[in-house]
Amino acid sequence: MIAAFTLDRRQVLLGGGALIVGFSLRGAAAQEAASPAKRPGSLATTPYLDSWIRIDADGRITVFTGKAELGQGIKTALQQIAAEELDVSFEAVELVTADTKRTANEGYTSGSHSMQDSGTAIRHAAAQARELLIAQAAQRLNQPADSLRAENGAVIAPDGTRLGYGELIAADILHVEAQPSSKLKDPASFKVMGRPIPRVDIPAKVTGGAAYVQDMRLPGMLHARIVRPPSYGATLTDVDGAAIEKMPGVVKVVRNGNFLAVVAEKEFQAIKAMLALAAAAKWQEHPQLPAERGVRELLTNLPSRDMTILNVSDPSVSGLRSIEATYTRPYQAHGSIGPSCAVAQLVDGAMTVWSHTQGVYPDRQAIAEMLQLASDSVRVIHVEGSGCYGHNGADDAAADAALIASLIPGRPIRVQWMREQEHAWEPFGPAMLTQAKASLDAEGRIADWHFEVWSNTHSMRPGGAGCLLAAQHKAEPVAEPAPKPLPLPEGGGDRNAIPIYAFPNAKVVHHFISQMPLRISAMRSLGAYHNVFSIESFMDELAALAGKDPVEFRLAHLKDQRARDVVQKAAEAFGWAQDQKPPAGRGYGFAFARYKNLAAYCAIASEIEVISDTGRARLVRAVAAVDAGQIVNPNGLINQIEGAIVQSSSWTLYESVTFDDTRITSIDWQTYPILRFSAVPDTIDVHLIDRPGEPFLGSGETAQGPAAASIANAVTNAIGKRLRDLPLTRQRIRAAIEA
């Protein structure tokens, strides 16, 4: 469901009310190929060119994206795209990111969609703007358009006459709807795209510039801290805030139902007051967590809605030897290094919120609903925060700040969560269970494949106030909306559950579980992390059964040439050999996936070292090959893949959320340990396969699953035993060695 709608530029600039958008998590890009008449990327939902590009009379160029910089380098990449198609220098473009008053509604910055949605839209909008400017010049000069060329911010005639873009823009020529197709530049002529242009955000970040919402200091700003309940569902029975209000610098103690907060002039005053308030608060807790139950027992005992999402059969092929296996993944945390933060200010009944949310428009709607304001009275502006790997506490912190700001009109309110609050209250990546069963035919090829996945939804993003902690905790709580499975082809718990390999008989079932014992939502790659871990582990188990080399075995089932290319590239660059034998205590592993079966391709070969006494495993070396279509910024792409491999290795080897029957017990870096420098790999090599002229393929999440599976396969190669429960802790590895 993608509602076509018209966006009036003036309304956009005024933050007007026309932007009630039926956005869809499926986005536009997924269907781009299917219906050629559709406008490309986010132009499908925001078709006016001047929603994307503004050129002032002085020639200044501003490009607008509804996506947000999350540290993934999107600002730089989008600026490259715009500069390239507009035929201006990289520096000539100013980029404005997600802001409900200024930019298009592009939903969430998630799912590796930014390049596919916004990059594609900006590229086409810029190309069309360039053509319109040339047409305008042709008219003025009374010369045929095809005799003119655009160069460095001007249209140039054969006789050398130059008309600057600023001169040409006079009329509202960009206030037109985009055409479905554009005259895109030939990749061979690229000057800005395809180059490793340094990221625009890094200089401020490494010199102490104001780079994050955490760094905002508005005049008259106050600092707030929240006192969260000690556990889910706890109710505040008693608190005496009077003594706290007398503490130095304290401006206000806020109590609204189970929402408790303190506001002070200075940040450390707020922290001290928060600690005192927390000590004074009495809570009634309710044991409701499934302590001591393993993932398998937990998920199979919850009711599920079962959906068969793939069912193909070829009765002429049948298997002879079959195996089955079960894989689990625990709840895991985003664990941004900087806890969530937001600033909010109510002025004349209008609320402005600065937030590192991934979705300014949905967040605006949720906050407006919580405060019972009209949505055009709320403006949400994206400001970068600490690393974003999905739906963390950003939206909740924005709601906290807004709720408090609504009580202290005029003063900007800055809220930052404490480390323990971030760890205990962020929505986790859901626990998952998968079961795989397959059989081999006489030639050792997979004849029959059966795969089932049990999971919660993978998005409880604000689709309404009920998703926000502040709205859940306030005196008249807003009920949390019922969770929904995310639709295929992208999917949620079933993301990448459908194998990319060609099997004659295959059935895949998604068991959607609506009960959510722990607070969960989207975490980088959603279900793909566990599904790819499972499928690619199982492929190795089947290769072993068939007596085949894991890379050969994969290639034997892969038809997609681009998939074959990345597999071969990674294997070759790693030095993968059929008869390879790692040194004692080492293991080699391989894995491959195409993210969502429609975004970037990624194959990874890993070398692991295992200390058999302690079971401690370390990723020593990883080699990745990636095909993300046309490459915009190779260095940025490599950075994403390197980072994903390192992050996934931490998830895979160490991480799990812990809890007892009432509380989350992993509440800091002592209790939720992640990778430290002592275990960082010796080398990571990323090989890019550029596909000039091909569409951009989302790549920010493509390595999470393959990295996990290649590590698991390498551990098996090292110790001769298969581990199927994440994380592959040293205790589990040691137990497997001993068994």
Binding site: H223, G338, S386, R419
Partner: protein
């Protein structure tokens, strides 16, 4: 009122003596580089240099800092005139979100002041108190090596390194 020497300047600070340095830097001196990450000395995002040594500013009350020289990332160089360690991190594009990076840079700077030619092993050991969640570790290591080279060459009269 307490007097603190920060980046070569004396500041009269109106904060309780038990206030951690981090909040004085951010709230009173309006500096951005030192970041709140955990407040517990577990992640390193708040690291600054005190008398040549890396210190977690989030667990360092200012009452400990009388007569000590405090250096933050802002004190090393500016966006216009970046210090070698800053140029090295830019050159290696050693950040994704970048939130942990200033702390890493300060500990690396302290290491390089003490040991201009650290081995890879020594850099890894030195950075063990620091967490990065985006996974930019490989680039951070490269940047510290590059900074070491740049600083060694700068000592030899060469400005060293390009962006």
């Amino acid at each position: 009122m307490m007097s603190l020497k920060i980046n070569g300047q004396d500041h009269q600070v109106d904060a309780e003596p038990d206030t951690p340095l981090l909040y004085v830097l951010r709230d009173d001196i309006k500096l951005n580089a030192a970041k709140y990450g955990c407040g517990l000395g577990q992640c390193g995002a708040c690291t600054v240099i005190v008398d040549g040594n890396a210190v977690f500013s989030c667990v360092t009350p200012i009452l400990l800092l009388k007569d000590k020289e405090i250096t933050t990332l802002e004190g090393l160089g500016t966006i216009e005139k970046p210090a070698p360690i800053q140029r090295a991190f830019m050159a290696e594009q050693s950040a994704q979100c970048g939130y942990c990076i200033p702390g890493m840079m300060m500990r690396a700077q302290a290491l390089l002041q003490r040991n201009p030619n650290p081995t890879d092993q020594q850099i890894r050991a030195e950075l063990a108190p620091h967490l990065c969640r985006c996974g930019t570790h490989m680039r951070i290591l490269r940047a510290v090596h590059r900074a070491a080279e740049m600083m060694t060459r700068a000592d030899a009269g060469d400005q060293g390194g390009t962006l």
